[in-house]
Amino acid sequence: EAGVAQSPRYKIIEKRQSVAFWCNPISGHATLYWYQQILGQGPKLLIQFQNNGVVDDSQLPKDRFSAERLKGVDSTLKIQPAKLEDSAVYLCASSLVSGGAQTQYFGPGTRLLVL
């Protein structure tokens, strides 16, 4: 079974530029998550989708970040304009409910450096 796919793997941009990340979840997984992981910290949830609807985006900086999940499968996360503090790894995860819990499986992440 293929895992969560993400692209690009690395991105370097200058501040005030825009950037987009793409995620393809594990087939059949209805729930998709975007996390931001700053160096030395645990992943922080930015947004959670159930199919193509938003479940939780309370920690998404909506003035600069946006995300969509068209057709309930692939998802894109966009930053516009980027700030220096956005330098981080952006992880996508997907999950399936099994046995009363949702096990999340992570993709390899996109490492973003904002100069």
Partner: protein, 113 residues
């Protein structure tokens, strides 16, 4: 309400044991454990759902004390491959089975030959 992990870092020799703790100030529905190696994605280890439940994965096991809102991860007879950063992700009763996790700051484990 980020869970607190302890210790922050631990260094072991191969074959030694270690315990990593995860504590929350909120009532927990579940605790999820992950291991992340440098530059890689977090890898799922196990989920604990009920108070006092223990699970195992190879020589790694965990317990969940629902009354204390604590979970502990036990690494027995550690191997070099156990090196990495361990994260607990907690799901509170208010978010039960929504999949919403709050991750701790991580515990870095280094196993030396």
């Amino acid at each position: 309400q980020q869970p607190v992990q302890s210790p922050q870092a631990v260094i072991l020799r191969e074959g030694e044991d270690a315990v990593i703790n995860c504590s929350s100030s909120k009532a927990l529905y579940s605790v999820h454990w992950y291991r992340q190696k440098h530059g890689e994605a977090p890898v799922f280890l196990m989920i604990l759902l009920k108070g006092g439940e223990q699970k195992g994965h190879e020589k790694i096991s965990a317990s969940f004390n629902e009354k204390k809102q604590q979970s502990s991860l036990y690494l027995t007879a550690s191997q070099l491959s156990y090196s990495g950063t361990y994260f607990c992700g907690t799901e509170t009763h208010g978010s039960s089975n929504t999949g919403k996790l709050i991750f701790g700051q991580g515990t870095t484990l280094q196993v030396k030959p």
